[in-house]
Assembly symmetry: C2
């Protein structure tokens, strides 16, 4: 969506539009944010793309991801809270895209099957299937942009005896809601965002106990009674997990929060990014140009602090390269640039460092393009406050509000504390319900109905 | 496995072996029978192949699927029961294959990405990825045999409101065991083998209630108290399902037993079979030769009464076509043959008819090859007895025994009635435990320990 918007933005300024086709295997756009109840494979037999669950809310402040050229104020017409639910974020990105007429470039329900590059003609052949009709076509392109993301194919390690576990085992990718975890003893394997958020959701929905298992280090949050961290599970024996510290505990359900893999089944090895999930994958000049073939690009291949606005910066830059507005340096210079970033990357040793690193990366990109520069230092500061707010209160950090660097608007306080909000719909989010007793109690006041 | 064995059998009789490569995306062979606890995508990011669950037992008598050239007696060295558990059947097919040295032809953890056919050179280019290394290769072949099956990619219809259902929703493909359904109200959508068997498993494992929902017709078995059939679910509203007869009922879990689709994401449309699941898919001469390109073959593309021995008959025939032992008739004759079978197929109107139809199909194939002919009429009779035995007693039909047409051996009675057998392992299956009280009670006798 960012790439289409980038080309359209240039066209509006008088640039000639290249011939563009966007193949999207889903029936609608929005990528991760295009929620589905489906898991495994979809109605066409394709692996389900999204890793969203029903009750997902943004786990980072919206002030860190806001588009510089389409603000939350513009979209919603009034201040909203800093941590919108899934539907509100989808609405925001779809709203930006709908403002333009770029949907006409998208062929929905089209799966790219296989991409080949011909060294002689310097063109790509893209084999694609129309999933609705079964028709397949081979089309030629001068450039290919991979924007399929890398939080879709789960990394699923094996654990001894896990095949004897009688309860439900899902990877975070297939997790769709925490309601069914009420009254359950839940084990989450992993120590990153998925574990933290799904564990919190399970707790919110009434899980009897929430146990996290970490491989290298615990998340270390100040968990409430009923939530705790343990080291690695070494094996399962029926419903009993054996931890490396000798603890044995029975569980009803296991959620594997073990991350995702870069996986591009439509690409030959020569074009396929192979990287752990980090903020500077190797072999991408400026984080987007495939070093081994400069006609090929990746968007969003990094681990992400910045998201929507970083994708924009990348898309604007890739657009300018393709339009010939920005010349690429020699392969040698590209390597030097990548190495310089990798050197800097190697020295990062805190989350705060990573934030600053990605801020610098985004700045570097925006400086190459006409994408509106924004106050990146302040946004980095917001991310650091966010990190701290989670350390302060992991269950309630979503009740904090931040100020947009795009508009100067202070986020609204959501009408209901997140831990009490059981309705994740956009309708509820935008409503103004009566202040209820639960909130008063939550905030340590006498309930309003008693006071009246 | 059947195809490799077929070629080896010819080689042993002095035929020259063609150059053979078998690409298998899993780490081991056995296809469906290669059980994994994984669901969704596997450790390589590929869609999981198998639809097996932990506690699956054969749902048809083994006397209907026995290889003509490798019997159960030969494999186990003694009579076993007519309905072996998953592990025993895997052991049997692997045992047959291990007897030969065909494993060397298999490249495991290799996913076929894309197959192209060049009309000029009349060769296939097969793009394949080594999943362990990420290496991709394009190799040329004169013939391609698709043996990836069609019970792997779930058919998953949408139901209004299903995204609001708070409990677990899985398709039969992702179902791995019924233990977690104990004390649950379970809804199974579908009226075929998956529904029948998973529903029965759920009942066996102590589900509070089992409700089947059918689209066109109920299965009509004589269900016990606690199991029942209802017409189609029209919508969900939270955990409440609304049936087309007005019934509303709350459920804890939904299992979609809605079948599978033919799905060959590695094939262009011109080579890709597109068919509902039936006993005679169109466009396959003798059920195996791709009519539009006679260098291409499908094994097991039919719905199946016969299985392992039918795959053998198909593989032996395909082998002879490839070796030039059997000449294919003109395209016109092929079409005539297909039409004749389709005409016969159109007239089938009972399960018993389908059995006879497939018996005739297998006979036709075996008559073309040197695969050992066996008493197909008697096997058809066994299938019909099986169908009747399910009508008589759907919970206990696996306690019936049949006589092998290959060896004349009457199957052994399993030491424990199926409804009481909670250990599905091969070890338990082959053991000879003391006769226990539960069995006596089940069979209406005074418990042995009381009698002593």
């Amino acid at each position: 969506m960012a790439q289409l918007r980038a080309f359209e933005s240039a066209a509006k300024k008088g640039h000639e539009m290249p011939e563009i086709v966007c193949y999207e295997k889903q029936d609608d756009w929005g990528g991760q944010w295009n929620f589905t109840w489906r898991t495994g494979t979809d109605q066409y037999g394709e692996p389900v793309h999204t890793s969203m669950y029903r009750n997902l809310w943004s786990n980072g402040p919206k002030e860190g991801l806001e588009f510089a050229e389409y603000t939350f104020d513009e979209h919603f017409g009034r201040p909203v809270s800093s941590y919108p639910p899934r539907e509100a974020l989808w609405d925001y990105i779809a709203g930006r895209a709908e403002k333009s007429d770029v949907k006409k470039f998208v062929k929905f329900a089209h799966a790219v099957r296989w991409v080949d590059f011909d060294e002689n003609t310097r063109t790509f052949t893209v084999n694609v299937e129309n999933l609705r009709t079964g028709e397949t076509e081979a089309n030629e392109f001068d450039h290919v942009i991979v924007a399929s993301g890398h939080f879709t194919f789960p990394n699923v390690p094996h654990f001894e005896g896990i095949d004897t576990f009688p309860g439900q085992i899902v990877h975070a990718h297939e997790f769709r809601g925490a309601e069914a975890l009420a009254d359950k003893d839940v084990l989450l394997i992993g120590a990153s965002y998925s574990a933290e958020d799904i564990g919190t959701q399970a707790f919110k929905m009434g899980a009897r106990s929430v146990t996290f298992s970490y491989r290298s280090a615990p998340m270390g949050f100040d968990w409430p009674e009923g939530m705790e961290e343990q080291p690695l599970v070494e094996k399962f024996d029926g419903n009993t997990a054996h931890f490396s510290n000798g603890l044995q505990r029975k569980f009803d359900a296991v959620v594997l929060c073990t991350g995702y893999i870069h996986h591009y089944p439509f690409l030959p090895e020569s074009l396929s990014l192979d990287s752990p999930n980090n903020v500077y994958p190797d072999n991408l000049y400026r984080g987007v140009v495939w070093e081994k073939n400069n006609q090929m690009f990746y968007l969003g291949a990094q681990d992400q602090w910045f998201t929507f606005n970083m994708f924009d910066a990348q898309a604007w830059y890739v657009r300018d390269v393709i339009l010939g507005e920005r010349e690429l340096p020699s392969k040698e210079e590209q390597r030097k640039s990548i190495d310089a970033w990798l050197e800097r990357f190697d020295k990062l040793d805190s989350m705060e460092d990573q934030v600053d690193f990605q801020g610098a990366y985004v700045r570097d990109l925006i400086e190459q393009t006409d994408y509106p520069m924004f106050d990146l230092d302040t946004v980095c500061g917001i991310f650091k406050e966010w990190i701290q707010s989670k350390r302060d209160d992991i269950l309630n950090y979503r009740d904090v509000t931040y100020t947009s660097v795009m508009t100067g608007t202070r986020a609204a306080q959501h009408h209901t504390p997140w831990m009490l909000e059981l309705d994740d719909s956009l309708e509820r989010y935008l409503s103004t319900p009566e202040r209820d007793d639960a909130r008063d109690v939550f905030e340590g006041r006498e309930p309003a109905t008693k006071r009246n």
